[in-house]
C-alpha cells in the first residue's frame, strides 16, 4: 500500500518572543538579548497515512493538531524531520481563506480554486456542482462582501470539497453550517472516501470521527498518545478529557449516601458492561434522624451530560414512609440499551416536593459501555429487517 502522507520524526519549534521585536531600533537595542523561549509544538511525530485512509486528529486545544496539518500542507516547515506527500492536496484550514470581499462569488470560486491549485478548466467543469452544493445560485454574482457568514462558509466548503483533490485536509470546519449542510458535507466526504481519496482532519467533535474515520490519532502536548481505530482512541480521549474528579455534592445530609456499588448480572461489582446486560445500582444510606417520606432516585448521563435515563421512587409511585438509621436501596436495571461510551451515575435523596435536598451526588460513579453489536448510534433498539423482493 502506498503512503499518501509520510511524516518522519517531525518536530516543530516556535519561538515565543517576549516582546515582538520588529523594528530596526529594537533589533539593534536588543541585539544581545535572546528575546524568545522555545516552544515545541510537535515532538518527534511519526505518522504514515495510507492512501484511502480517513484519519482524524483529536486532542485538547494546543496539542499540536493544527500545527501538524500546517506542516503537512507546507504552510509551516518542520524544525526537524521530513514530510513527503504524494498527490494533489486541498487544504481547508479556514473556510474562505483568501476570499476577496470586493469580488463576486463567481470570481471568488475561480480565485479560491486556483489558490487550492486547480485550473480554470477543472473549475469550469465543477462550477455548477460547486454552486449547487453551496445553495447560492441566486447570490453567486453578488459581492462576497454582502454574504452572511453562513453563505461564506458554505461557498468555501463547496469549493474545497468539489475540486477533487487526492488528499483533502480539513481543520475544524465541519462544525459550521446548519445541520442539513453538515449532513451534506458528511455525505460528500463519504463519496470522497469511496473514491479512494485520503482525508485528514482535525475535530473536537469526536463522535464525527467514529462516524467517518478508520483511524484516529490523539495528540497531547505535541506527542502522539494514542493511535488506532476510533473505537479504541475515542474512549481514551473522553477519559483524558474528564474534568478532575471533584465530586459535586450538595444537600443537608439528614439522609446521606454512604456507599454506591455497580453490580453486574452475577451480582459482582463491575465498571464495564455490555449492551443488553443488567446493572444493579446498590445505594447504602444513613438517616441521622427519622425523615418522613423521602424520595430516592438516580440518573445516568453520558459524557456530554445528556441524561440517558433516570427515575426515582416518587415517579414510580412508591411511598417509603419514615426512614431512619441505615439501609440499602437497589435500582435494578434489567437490560442496558446503550451501545458504546462512558456513562456517569448521579444519585439523589430529596423530599417529595423537591424543596429539601438531603443528599445529591453528581457523577458519583462511572461505568463503560461496550457492545458486541455492530449497529451505530447511542442506543440499541431491537430491529428486524424484512426484505420483500
Amino acid at each position: 500500500m502506498a503512503y499518501a502522507v509520510e511524516v518522519t520524526d517531525v518536530s516543530k519549534m516556535f519561538k515565543l518572543h517576549h516582546e515582538n521585536v520588529k523594528s530596526l531600533k529594537e533589533k539593534v537595542l536588543f541585539f544581545r538579548r535572546r528575546g524568545y523561549e522555545e516552544f515545541w509544538a510537535l515532538k518527534d511525530i511519526d505518522v504514515k497515512v495510507e492512501e484511502g485512509d480517513t484519519l482524524g486528529l483529536i486532542g485538547a486545544n494546543g496539542s499540536g493538531k493544527t500545527t501538524l496539518l500546517k506542516c503537512i500542507t507546507k504552510i509551516l516547515y518542520p524544525t526537524k524531520g521530513r514530510i513527503t506527500t504524494s498527490g494533489s492536496i486541498a487544504a481547508l484550514l479556514e473556510l474562505g481563506a483568501g476570499f476577496q470581499a470586493d469580488l463576486t462569488g463567481r470570481e471568488n470560486v475561480y480565485l479560491n480554486a486556483s489558490i487550492l491549485g486547480f485550473s480554470r478548466k477543472e473549475v469550469d467543469k465543477k462550477f455548477d456542482d460547486i454552486v449547487a452544493f453551496s445553495e447560492l445560485e441566486r447570490f453567486i454574482d453578488n459581492h462576497v462582501r454582502n454574504y452572511s457568514s453562513g453563505m461564506y462558509v458554505r461557498l468555501g466548503f463547496a469549493i474545497a470539497i468539489n475540486v477533487d483533490p487526492d488528499i483533502l485536509i480539513i481543520d475544524e470546519v465541519l462544525a459550521v453550517g446548519d445541520e442539513a449542510f453538515q449532513r451534506k458535507c458528511l455525505e460528500r466526504i463519504n463519496e470522497i472516501q469511496n473514491a479512494g481519496k485520503t482525508i485528514i482532519f482535525v475535530t473536537h467533535n469526536v463522535e464525527v470521527t467514529q462516524e467517518i474515520c478508520n483511524r484516529v490519532i490523539m495528540l497531547d502536548q505535541g506527542n502522539i498518545v494514542k493511535d488506532g481505530a476510533p473505537r479504541e482512541v475515542v474512549p481514551f480521549y473522553h477519559k483524558a478529557m474528564e474534568p478532575e474528579e471533584e465530586s459535586r455534592e450538595r444537600g443537608n445530609l439528614r439522609i446521606m449516601v454512604t456507599g454506591v456499588e455497580l453490580l453486574n448480572g452475577e451480582g459482582k461489582p463491575a465498571t464495564e458492561f455490555y449492551t443488553g446486560e443488567s446493572l444493579k445500582i446498590r445505594v447504602s444510606y444513613l438517616a441521622q434522624e427519622p425523615v418522613e417520606d423521602p424520595v430516592f432516585g438516580f440518573s445516568i448521563d453520558d459524557y456530554r451530560g445528556f441524561t440517558a435515563y433516570g427515575t426515582n421512587t416518587g415517579l414510580k409511585g412508591m411511598n417509603l414512609g419514615t426512614v431512619s438509621g441505615e439501609g440499602v436501596i437497589e435500582f435494578d436495571l434489567k437490560s442496558l440499551p446503550m451501545l458504546e461510551g462512558r456513562y456517569f451515575v448521579n444519585l439523589s435523596i430529596h423530599s417529595r416536593d423537591e424543596q429539601t435536598v438531603y443528599h445529591w451526588l453528581d457523577r458519583h460513579a462511572t461505568f463503560e459501555m461496550n457492545s458486541r453489536i455492530n449497529d451505530v448510534g447511542l442506543l440499541y433498539i431491537p430491529c428486524e429487517i424484512l426484505v420483500n423482493p
Partner: protein, 270 residues
C-alpha cells in the same frame, strides 16, 4: 532547490494570473469610473504639465519638455508603484499566507504584474497623444519591449528582496517610502542629463551607477528621439547600459534566492 521552486511556480501560473487580475479588479472595484482612471491619469498629467511649463518655463530650451518629462516619469511611476505595492504584499495577506500553501513569490509577482498592466495602459495613452501631435519617432522606438523587459527584471529583483525582508523587519516598508523619494531626485526625470553634467560633470560616472538613471535614460532616448528634438537633452551611456543589465539580472537571481531562503518562516512571522 531553485529549479524545484521555479517548477512549482510554473505549476501555479494560473494562480499568478488570477492574483494579478484580482489586484486589477480590486483596485477600482468600488469606483464608478473604474478603469477610466487608468486612462485619465496620464491625460491629466500631460495636460497639467503642458500648462505649467507653458507658463513657468517660457523660453526654455526644450520645446517639448512635456514629452521628455512623461517618457521618464511613467517608467519611474511604474517602478515606484510596483515597489510600494509588493513590499507590503506578503505582510498584507496574512489570511492567505497563514492558511493556504502556494508559492509565496506569487504575491509580489502579482503586485508587479498588475503594475505592468497599468504601465502598458498608460504608455498606450501617452503614445496616442504622441500620434495626435504627430511626433516623429526614431527607429529606436522598436526597442520598447526590451527596455520594458530590463526594467521589469530590475523591479522584480528588488520587489522580491524587499517583500521578504519586510516580513522580518517592518521598517523596510517605511524605508522604501523615504528612499524612493530621494531616489527620484537622483534620476534624470524632471531635469535633463545635460543639466546635471553642466553642474556636476565630474560626478557623471558615479551618477550613472544608479540603474534607474540608466533605465530612465533609455526610455527617454527611444521615445523622445533626441536626434530630432534636441541632442543635448538625452544620452545613453554604453557602460551604464551594460552595467544595468548585469545588475538587474544579478539582483533578480539574488532577490529570488533571498525570497526562497526566507519564505519558510513567513507563516510564523506575520
Amino acid at each position: 532547490m531553485m529549479i524545484e521552486k521555479i517548477r512549482d511556480l510554473w505549476l501555479h501560473r494560473e494562480l499568478l494570473w488570477n492574483m494579478t487580475v484580482k489586484e486589477l479588479k480590486v483596485k477600482y472595484k468600488r469606483s464608478v469610473l473604474g478603469f477610466v482612471w487608468s486612462f485619465a491619469n496620464p491625460i491629466i498629467m500631460i495636460a497639467v504639465f503642458s500648462l505649467v511649463f507653458a507658463i513657468l518655463a517660457k523660453g526654455a530650451k526644450m520645446q517639448w519638455f512635456v514629452v521628455y518629462l512623461m517618457s521618464g516619469l511613467l517608467p519611474w511611476l511604474f517602478f515606484v508603484n510596483s515597489l510600494m505595492q509588493s513590499v507590503g504584499s506578503v505582510v498584507g495577506n496574512p489570511g492567505l499566507v497563514k492558511k493556504v500553501y502556494f508559492p509565496r513569490e506569487i504575491l509580489p509577482l502579482a503586485a508587479v504584474g498588475a503594475n505592468i498592466f497599468h504601465f502598458v495602459l498608460q504608455m498606450s495613452v501617452f503614445f496616442v497623444f504622441l500620434l495626435i501631435i504627430r511626433w516623429h519617432f526614431s527607429i529606436y522606438i522598436l526597442l520598447v519591449p526590451l527596455v520594458l523587459l530590463l526594467e521589469v527584471i530590475f523591479t522584480l529583483g528588488l520587489s522580491l528582496f524587499l517583500s521578504a525582508a519586510n516580513v522580518y523587519l517592518r521598517d523596510v516598508q517605511h524605508f522604501v517610502e523615504v528612499a524612493t523619494m530621494a531616489w527620484f531626485w537622483l534620476t534624470p526625470i524632471v531635469y535633463t542629463m545635460s543639466t546635471f553634467s553642466s553642474v556636476a560633470g565630474k560626478y557623471t560616472p558615479i551618477y550613472l551607477i544608479n540603474p534607474m538613471a540608466d533605465i530612465v535614460l533609455m526610455w527617454q532616448y527611444i521615445i523622445y528621439n533626441p536626434q530630432r528634438y534636441g541632442p543635448s537633452a538625452v544620452y545613453v551611456s554604453p557602460w551604464g547600459f551594460v552595467g544595468t543589465v548585469i545588475v538587474s539580472v544579478v539582483l533578480l537571481v539574488f532577490g529570488y534566492f533571498f525570497f526562497t531562503r526566507t519564505e519558510r518562516g513567513f507563516a510564523e512571522q506575520i
